[in-house]
Symmetry: C2
Subunit: 242 residues, 2 copies
Amino acid sequence: MAFCKKPLSGRSRYESLIKRCCYLPSGHNGACDEFPYIHHLESVAPRVAAKIKRDATKTTGAAWKSVDAGPNRIDRWVMLLPDAELKKKYGIDIAAMKTAVQSKLREKAASYDDCMDVAGKLTWAAYQMKNAPKPPPEVFTYLSERFGNMEDASTRCIVCRDFLDFNMFEGARRGRANIETAHANPRLHNPDNVGFAHRECNIAQGGLSLEQFYDWIAGILARVRAGVSAEVDAPGSHSSTS
Amino acid sequence: MAFCKKPLSGRSRYESLIKRCCYLPSGHNGACDEFPYIHHLESVAPRVAAKIKRDATKTTGAAWKSVDAGPNRIDRWVMLLPDAELKKKYGIDIAAMKTAVQSKLREKAASYDDCMDVAGKLTWAAYQMKNAPKPPPEVFTYLSERFGNMEDASTRCIVCRDFLDFNMFEGARRGRANIETAHANPRLHNPDNVGFAHRECNIAQGGLSLEQFYDWIAGILARVRAGVSAEVDAPGSHSSTS
């Protein structure tokens, strides 16, 4: 899909870093629009739409709101700046943060274009969940042309590969959705690498890539099936205690 | 092992609920002692000893310190009381808590005897980790007689069944140990069901029993190996995006 890409203005304090632009097809009629595909979702499932935009474009979520966790919810493209510039321009002092926070922030960095693609891909995936609202024809056409064929009830958790149900977004209103945005490789934020996952699956994957995660659980199962015991009452164990 | 079981006094506000007692062998010499096996560990690895006593006897850890998470670190046996008594005696209003907190607290309930057995079992397991301090002969004898033969570097993570290294307790001083106390069945706190696990393994297991956890990851691997795709760049996927 060739985009219009006419510049648009935004309201964040980091606007000077990027050129927001129109993601309607080039030669479109009517006003330019950065998120032309999300307005239907904003009207029928506003919290899901807000979650998609937030997860696609911001560094961190609610679990990060602690004093020494560093800045919360910064535009991902801000984190592409060198440390010196972050400090001078925005007062973000990376060197003063804990190592774990530094690397967490750094791995969330992504370009504006990638973030825009992720937002679209997530919307495309959400509409293909079981029990998802039906997109209006113009949205269906737009998303299909941009991200590929769409099929009802076909979206799977990227970790466990089981089907996802749109209703599991419900917790989004309490800050604890049962569906989370997930990354096949936690250090890459682009549409080929991002999808949805069950909350439990996303937690279990932790900081591993999916490849590492599958290797890890395969190792666990191999040991369990070989009867390796850890002295508790679990399958394959033979406890000597009690 | 037959215990002395002479009553001892404690300092918690819940002392009236239990009869603390001596866990030295019956007929022992010298003073009675509730934790006769832990003093060596208290001197060489005080934070590990404190963690063992805390995890064995208290309901919840550091991650629980939020306003609406309910009471923090209550003696596990307190949670065996009926709601009405908890409220009247200790001002703990279970009905006023969120459902998730209620069930979390309830599943931590355990008798004093079980907690004492868990503390001993964990100490026994800790001494058998790679790079663990060597217990003095009287502790070695006591723990072997109470919990079974002890072997150097033999303690495994109860989840992944790989060996644990005592040095991974280090984070205990920053409230984030890489070894955590774990339960084969999260709803049972007794020595046959409790052991140590890697932090990541404990997190991945979540609220599942080990049996459920192994079933769950076997299902994931089966789908991955069958080539079920979730439209991301991961093993077995064939993305149609970008």
